[in-house]
C-alpha cells in the first residue's frame, strides 16, 4: 500500500515498511552514513544519518526509522549538519589514519570521503586511538587493522546476515570495543571461510585485502581501473570487477549490483585470481618433436601441424575417427565453434563437453 510523507518540503510516496533513509535516497537526498550497507538490516550505530522529524524531541536515525503517513522530515539543516560534523570529528579522532589505499576494499574510502565533505581536519578531538590491530593473524587474505575500526559492525553483520557464517563478533563495550573471533584467535581457527565480504563492506579499511595491498606501491592512491566480468569458478555466475593497474590484475571487487550475487563472493572468486598472470602460463605454441619432447613453435607452424594431423587421420581413418571436447570454462563462442568445427567440418556429431565427469 502506498502512503505519502514530506521530505525537505516535497510530498513523496512510499510503501509500507520502507525507512526514511531508503525513501530519501530514492529521491537523491545525500544523507551521510557509515554503518549502513543496503544489503544488511539497518543498525543505527553511527548516527550520521540523523534527520529532523517534526514532532520528535531529538533527531532520529533515518536508517532505522520506518516511514509513517504524514511524517515531515528535514534531511539537511544547520543543526543536523553540525551534529554530523561533530560525530565525524569524534570518529576521525580515534583512528590511526583515515586516508587509506583504495586497494584495502570496496568501501574503504567512505570515511575519508565524508571527512572531506564535512571539512573535518581531525585535530579538534584528539586522544587515544581505539581498537587493537590483530597483528599476529598471518592469514594471507584479510588484514585485521583494528586501529582503523569505528565499531560500525558492518563486518560482523555481513558475516552473520549475508554469509550466515557468524565467524566474528563484538567484544567489550564503548572505547574498548573490539571485533574478534571466538576466544580472540586467528580467523583460520574460526568459522571464517575467507569470502572477504567483511573487507568489502568495511568503510575505513580496518579490514583490508592483503593480497591487493601487495600492489600498493604501484597503485599509490589512484583508484585502479575496473573491468566488469563474471567470476571464473562455479556456475553461480557472480559478477565481479577486476581491478587493474598498468596491465596487471591487482585485485577483485564484488559487483554490488551483480544479478546472481548482489555483492557476495566466496574465497575463490575473491582471492584465487592470480593464476591468470602466473609465470606457468603457456606463452607460445608447442609441437612434439622427433625427440618426443614438446618444443616452442610459431603459430604458423603449430596451426599447420594441428591441421595436418587432422587431415591425415581423416584421410586414413575417415571422418568418424576425429573427436572434439569443448570446455566448460571458456566462453560460449569457443564451445559453439568447437561443435561447428566437428559438425560443419567433418559432418559428424562426435562432439562433447566436459560435463560428464
Amino acid at each position: 500500500m502506498t502512503h505519502t510523507m514530506e521530505i525537505d518540503g516535497v510530498e513523496v510516496a512510499f510503501s509500507e515498511g520502507e525507512t526514511i533513509l531508503e525513501i530519501a535516497q530514492r529521491h537523491q537526498k545525500e544523507i551521510p552514513t557509515l554503518c549502513y550497507d543496503p544489503r544488511l538490516e539497518p543498525f543505527g550505530g553511527c548516527r550520521l544519518c540523523i534527520v529532523e522529524l517534526e514532532g520528535a524531541r531529538n533527531p532520529v536515525a533515518s536508517c532505522t526509522t520506518k516511514a509513517t503517513a504524514g511524517m515531515v522530515v528535514r534531511t539537511t539543516t544547520d543543526t543536523i549538519e553540525a551534529y554530523r560534523k561533530t560525530l565525524l570529528e569524534m570518529v576521525v579522532g580515534e583512528n590511526r589514519e583515515v586516508d587509506v589505499s583504495p586497494l584495502r576494499g570496496y568501501a574503504s574510502g567512505e570515511l575519508a570521503d565524508l571527512r572531506d565533505k564535512y571539512g573535518v581536519n581531525g585535530t579538534s578531538i584528539t586522544g587515544a586511538t581505539s581498537g587493537t590491530s590483530k597483528t599476529d593473524d598471518g592469514n594471507p587474505f584479510i588484514l585485521r587493522d583494528y586501529e582503523l575500526c569505528i565499531s560500525c559492525y558492518r563486518c560482523v553483520r555481513v558475516c552473520a546476515e549475508q554469509e550466515g557464517d557468524h565467524a566474528i563478533n563484538v567484544m567489550n563495550r564503548g572505547f574498548h570495543t573490539q571485533i574478534t573471533t571466538e576466544f580472540d584467535g586467528l580467523l583460520k581457527d574460526s568459522a571464517c571461510t575467507f569470502c572477504g565480504q567483511c573487507i568489502q563492506t568495511c568503510p575505513t579499511g580496518a579490514l583490508a585485502d592483503k593480497k591487493a595491498l601487495r600492489a600498493v606501491d604501484e597503485v599509490e592512491d589512484a583508484v585502479p581501473d575496473k573491468t566488469r566480468t563474471i567470476c571464473p569458478y562455479c556456475g553461480v555466475g557472480c559478477s565481479v570487477d577486476i581491478l587493474t593497474k598498468d596491465e596487471k590484475i591487482v585485485g577483485i571487487h564484488p559487483a554490488m549490483d551483480g544479478p546472481a550475487n548482489q555483492g557476495a563472493l566466496c574465497v575463490k572468486g575473491q582471492f584465487a585470481y592470480d593464476f591468470v598472470q602466473h609465470p606457468d602460463r603457456l606463452k607460445t605454441p608447442l609441437i612434439r618433436g622427433d625427440d618426443g619432447e614438446l618444443h616452442e613453435a610459431t603459430w604458423e607452424e603449430a596451426l599447420d601441424r594441428a591441421a595436418e594431423g587432422f587431415r591425415e587421420v581423416h584421410a586414413e581413418h575417415g571422418r568418424h575417427s576425429i573427436y572434439g571436447i569443448a570446455s566448460g570454462r571458456a566462453p560460449s563462442e569457443a564451445a559453439y565453434l568447437m561443435q561447428k568445427f566437428i559438425r560443419a567440418g567433418f559432418g559428424t556429431n562426435y562432439i562433447d563437453n566436459c560435463s560428464r565427469a
Binding site: 555466475g237 557476495a264 565453434l337
Partner: protein, 530 residues
C-alpha cells in the same frame, strides 16, 4: 535450474540432496541460509555430515548410491498421506495412476533397509516436503554421478510432479552447475545428441536447418559421448581436439584415460597451462585466460552474461575461438573467417531458439528492469524467463517415471569393504590448475587428506595424520588420514583436486547407461596403514 537464484531465499521447505553447496556453490548457499534464518525448514540428504547438514532441521545420512530408494520411500509417504496436488497432477502430468500403483510397494521401511536412514525420518521429510506451500529441491553431482543418475533425477521429478512444486516462486527442481560456463557449453551444442539450443540431431527439421546453415551433409544419428570416445581411442578414434579440460585428472580411471590419449595418432590441446593432459599432446596451443578474453557465458540459472578482458594475454596466447577458426580454415572448412567473438555469438543466437531474442549488444547492456537475459528468450522483445514451467512443460505434460532402485556398479566386499565417495572442497577447484596457482590458497588447504570416521581408525589400523594406502579394483594411491565426524562410519571421502593424490586412479566403476556420467560418487576401496 527451473527457478532463479533469487528464489533460493523464498521456499518454506528446502530439500537438498547430493549437494555440498556451502563448499561448491558458496554464494548460492547464502540464499538458503537467509531462507533458513527467515524460518524455512531445511532437509539435507547426504552420506557426509557436510556444512548444510549442520544447518539442517532434518538430516538424512543415506548410504552412498541409495538415493533412488530414499526418494521412492518419500514418494510412497506423500501418496499414502494424501499430500499430492490433485489439480496439478490432473492438468499438468501424465502417468500418475501407474506411478501410484508402482510406489505402493516401496515403503519407508523398505527404504530404510537400503539407505540406512530411519523410516520415521523418511516419513518426516516426505510430510514436510509434501505439505510445503513452496517446496524447492536443490541437487548437484551427488545425484547425477551414479550409474543411476537418470533414475535419481527422475525420482526427484516424481516428487515435484506429485506435489506441484514447480513453476512458482520459491519452488522448482534446481541442479547447481559446477563450472562458469558448463551451461553455456551445452547450450552452444557441444553435445553428441543436440545441436545448439538443445535441438535434437535426430530430428529431420533440425538436420535440415543445420545442413543449410553449415552447407554440408550432417550425420543423422547421435554422436558418441566423450566416455565412449575415450574407450575407442586407438581403435576407431585416432585424433582429438581438447579445449581447456584436464581430462587426465578430472575423469575417472586415470590409467585407462592416459592409455586412451596416448594411443591417439594426433592430439591437439588448447589450454592456459601445460596440464597433465596437455603434456600428452602432439600440439599444444596457448589460450587466453579469464580476464583476458571477451565472450559470453551462461550460469546455472540460465542467465547469459558478458565476460570481459581486463588485461592482455601473456606472450602469444590467443582466444580459443581464434585458434579453432584458424585450424578450421587450414582444413578448408567454410564459415570460419571471424575477427571478433561478436559474430560468433550472434550466429549461435540465430541458430538457437532459446537464444533467438539475444544478441551481443543485449548481453553487453546486461539485465535491465524490463529485459532479463535468462533463457529461453525466443524473440527480441521477450523479457527472458527467470522461471521455467510456469504454464506448461516444454514437452507438454510432466511424465511420472516408474523407477526402480539399483545397486551401484560395485558394492563393498570382503576385498574392498569401504565406500569411497569423492567431491570438491571450498578452497580448491577441480584439478587445481587455477587455485593451485593462486597465492594464499595453500594456507587454507595445503594438501589432500582422506576423511575417515574416528571410530573406524582402530578397525582399519589407521592413525590420524599418518599415511595410508587406498586401493580399488583399478589401482592404489597413498593418502594422509584425517579423522572427522563428517564421514560416517564405513565411508571415506577425498577430493580429486591434488595431482599428487590422484583419486581418480581408483574411480570409474561404471557409468549411467543413458548420460554416460561416471559413478564418481561410489567406489569400494580397501585401506591399509603404510
Amino acid at each position: 535450474m527451473s527457478n532463479p537464484l533469487v528464489d533460493m531465499q523464498k521456499p518454506d521447505v528446502i530439500f537438498c540432496i547430493g549437494t555440498n553447496m556451502t563448499e561448491c556453490h558458496p554464494v548460492a548457499a547464502t540464499g538458503l541460509k537467509k531462507a533458513v534464518a527467515r524460518g524455512a525448514k531445511l532437509i539435507v540428504a547426504d552420506p557426509r555430515r557436510i556444512g548444510l547438514a549442520e544447518m539442517s532441521h532434518l538430516y538424512l545420512p543415506l548410504r552412498v548410491g541409495s538415493d533412488t530408494a530414499l526418494l521412492l520411500g518419500m514418494a510412497h509417504v506423500i501418496a499414502r498421506e494424501g499430500l499430492i496436488d490433485e489439480d496439478f497432477i490432473e492438468n499438468r502430468t501424465t502417468g500418475f495412476d501407474d506411478f501410484f500403483e508402482h510406489i505402493s510397494e516401496w515403503t519407508p521401511e523398505w527404504a530404510e533397509t537400503i539407505t540406512g536412514v530411519p523410516a520415521k525420518d523418511i516419513e518426516t521429510a516426505a510430510i514436510w516436503y509434501g505439505t510445503a506451500n513452496r517446496g524447492a529441491i536443490y541437487y548437484t553431482l551427488g545425484i547425477t554421478e551414479h550409474i543411476c543418475g537418470v533414475e535419481n533425477v527422475q525420482s526427484l521429478c516424481n516428487l515435484v510432479l506429485m506435489t506441484g512444486n514447480v513453476g512458482r516462486e520459491g519452488t522448482g527442481i534446481n541442479p547447481m552447475r559446477g563450472q562458469n560456463n558448463i551451461q553455456g557449453a551445452g547450450d552452444s551444442g557441444a553435445l553428441p545428441n543436440n545441436y545448439p539450443g538443445f535441438q535434437a540431431v535426430t530430428e529431420p527439421e533440425y538436420q535440415a536447418k543445420f545442413k543449410a546453415a553449415y552447407g554440408r551433409e550432417v550425420d543423422l544419428e547421435k554422436g558418441i559421448t566423450k566416455v565412449t570416445a575415450l574407450d575407442l581411442c586407438g581403435d576407431s578414434i585416432h585424433a582429438m581436439l581438447i579445449d581447456g579440460e584436464n581430462t587426465l585428472l578430472s575423469d575417472p580411471d586415470r590409467e585407462h584415460c592416459e592409455h586412451a590419449l596416448r594411443s591417439l595418432e594426433h592430439l591437439v590441446v588448447i589450454d592456459i597451462f601445460l596440464t597433465e593432459t596437455a603434456e600428452l599432446a602432439d600440439v599444444v596451443l596457448p589460450a587466453t585466460a579469464w580476464g583476458e578474453t571477451d565472450g559470453i557465458c551462461t550460469n546455472t540459472e540460465r542467465r547469459v552474461q558478458r565476460m570481459r578482458a581486463a588485461v592482455p594475454p601473456p606472450g602469444e596466447a590467443k582466444p580459443d575461438w581464434w585458434i579453432i577458426s584458424q585450424i578450421a580454415q587450414r582444413l578448408g572448412f567454410k564459415g570460419f573467417d571471424y575477427d571478433t567473438p561478436k559474430p560468433i555469438f550472434n550466429e549461435l543466437c540465430r541458430l538457437s531458439p532459446i537464444y533467438e531474442g539475444l544478441d551481443w549488444e543485449r548481453i553487453e547492456k546486461g539485465a535491465t528492469d524490463i529485459l532479463n537475459n535468462q533463457w529461453p528468450v525466443p524473440h527480441k522483445e521477450h523479457p527472458g524467463t527467470p522461471r521455467l514451467h510456469e504454464e506448461t512443460f516444454a514437452n507438454g505434460r510432466g511424465i511420472f517415471s516408474n523407477v526402480h532402485y539399483r545397486d551401484p556398479a560395485e558394492t563393498i566386499s570382503e576385498e574392498f569393504p569401504i565406500w569411497l565417495t569423492t567431491g570438491r572442497r571450498l578452497q580448491s577447484y577441480h584439478t587445481r590448475t587455477q587455485t593451485g596457482r593462486a597465492q594464499g590458497i595453500d594456507y587454507l588447504l595445503p594438501e589432500e587428506s582422506l576423511e575417515v570416521n574416528p571410530a573406524d581408525l582402530e578397525k582399519w589400523e589407521l592413525t590420524d595424520g599418518e599415511w595410508c594406502k587406498m586401493s580399488s579394483a583399478r589401482g592404489s594411491i597413498t593418502i594422509k588420514v584425517k579423522a572427522t565426524n563428517r564421514s560416517p562410519s564405513g565411508t571415506v571421502f577425498a577430493s580429486f583436486s591434488f595431482a599428487d593424490v590422484p583419486v581418480n586412479l581408483l574411480t570409474g566403476s561404471g557409468y549411467d547407461p543413458i548420460t554416460h556420467t561416471a559413478e564418481l560418487k561410489v567406489c569400494p576401496v580397501r585401506l591399509e596403514p603404510l
